[in-house]
């Protein structure tokens, strides 16, 4: 009997989708539109974060070792520098290497050739986990005995951190607002289909259907429309994103940006779409028929 009922709910739900074709189309259209806007913002946030992470990873600080330390003494400091909280990795650069870099950077002028490497100090190039905590990390490194000075650019670090948090907050807010809007529109769309079926629901109640029995076909309908919307939105999102990515990589000005490939985010995007649209479909249909289930 249970299986018989499941079959009945499925049949009724699917039958209702086709017999209210235009409203079903409208519901799917609304879900697809909201998911696409949501998806675009999620992808934008992911890409901004990835670009900033890239830039951040190139932002480093340099700790200079006291000039009285020999190269081996200087190298012995590595463990202590590495152990400072928030330090991701350290690279030791000896006087000689520093000079070689310097010469490479500023050209092979005769003036430079006469310089002794000893005028430069041994140094550590330090990469950080969290760039926002650059200043405190710098002062912790400076406190290590044998470190004479630390150079860093705190303004740049602060700028990156600020951009990242603004983009994240704005995107989360937008996604939440869009979620609420799509829930509202979906609920109203399904409400329109239930207005058309007010008589049908009244008949169901008159022949002794329980509320949960009346709800099931509507739930099935909301669920099917939601999943359908998610799948269509996913395919469209894929197409739109791939198109934008291809335009970015061929554009001369911004081609330095390396967008995240869609395949890397396809599964999470599909899951987000499914979860959101199933929630919207189920809660939309529940809230839409609530009014008709009173006595």
């Amino acid at each position: 009997m249970k299986r018989n009922r499941m079959g009945y709910f499925l049949r009724e739900g699917i039958h209702s989708i086709f017999s209210h074709g235009f409203m079903s189309f409208a519901s799917v259209f609304v879900i697809v539109a909201c998911l696409l806007i949501m998806g675009c913002f999620v992808l934008l946030t992911l890409n901004v974060n990835s670009v900033i992470s890239e830039l951040e990873s190139e932002n480093q600080m340099v700790a200079f070792v006291d000039e009285r330390y020999s190269e081996s003494d200087a190298q012995a400091l590595r463990g202590r520098v590495q152990n400072v909280p928030n330090v991701e990795s350290v690279v030791f650069v000896s006087q000689t290497e520093a000079m070689a870099n310097f010469v490479q950077q500023y050209g092979d002028s005769p003036l430079l050739n006469e310089l002794e490497p000893s005028i430069l100090r041994h140094r550590y190039v330090i990469y950080l986990k969290d760039i926002a905590r650059m200043a405190e990390t710098a002062s912790a490194v400076k406190d290590i005995e044998g470190i004479a000075d630390v150079h860093y650019h705190v303004e740049i670090a602060k700028g990156f951190a600020a951009v990242r948090s603004v983009v994240t907050v704005v995107s989360i807010a937008l996604v939440l607002v869009l979620f609420v809007i799509s829930l509202f529109i979906m609920s109203n769309t399904i409400r329109l289909t239930t207005v058309a079926r007010r008589e049908e629901i009244a008949v169901m109640r008159m022949v002794g259907a329980t509320n949960s029995f009346i709800r099931q076909p509507f739930l099935v309908e909301g669920l099917i429309l939601g999943i359908l919307g998610a799948l269509i939105a996913f395919v469209l999102q894929w197409g739109i994103y791939s198109f934008v990515v291809s335009r970015i990589s061929t554009d001369g000005v911004i081609s330095f940006i390396e967008p995240i490939p869609f395949s890397a985010v396809a599964i999470p995007i599909l899951l987000i779409f499914l979860v959101v649209s199933v929630l919207v479909g189920v809660f939309g249909s529940l809230s839409a028929i609530k009014n008709y289930l009173k006595v």
Binding site: M1, V203, R205, M206, V207, G208, A209, T210, V295
Partner: protein, 228 residues
Amino acid sequence: MVQFTDVFKEYENGVKALKGVSFNVRDGEFVFLVGPSGSGKSTIIKLITGEIAPTDGQVIVNDFDLNRMRLSRLPYLRRSLGIIFQDYRLIENKTVYDNVAYAMQVVGASNKEIRRRVAYVLQLVGLDSRTRRYPRELAGGEQQRVAIARALVNNPRMIIADEPTGNLDPAKSLELMMLLEKINEMGTTMLIVTHEKELVNRFAKRVIAIDGGRVISDGMDGYYNYEA
């Protein structure tokens, strides 16, 4: 079985629809409930089907005490009743067969049982050749017979018909009433609300007359002497 004991009903807008109504309908009876519009007939029907609750007094329908019944029991009360309306209330996008089968699906009957029972009641009301039609393809009398089949299909203890012949011509009305009488003879209690004097007088059954929210006569003579 229906038992009204000193029932009062006052609506939220202050209209006093029933002012102390008492009557009994025993199992197997055939009863006409008559009276002019606004007399309280519809209120009585709504009380029996549990759409509204009495302001005062006791209503018992098929062993359900409506004063004390939990709301979740309401579907089970309605399954013990078959309800027929003047405007048929069929579902337009379902065939004749599906409109009737639907009432059985709602109560969780098996497919086999549904096929057997629906075929039987459609034959009983004379629609076995119309099973694949949609309501809009049928004449008024046929649509009402679909509604009767739907009311009958779950084998209810009682059928309540609210102006079942209101939209039918006299010949069709008579035919329909004879069908309801036949169903009553098979054991189903019948409570029919109507204001069609000739029909009521012709059948000579028990007649309860309502006016101004009170029972003004209740007799077995089958005579409807009230001027509607």
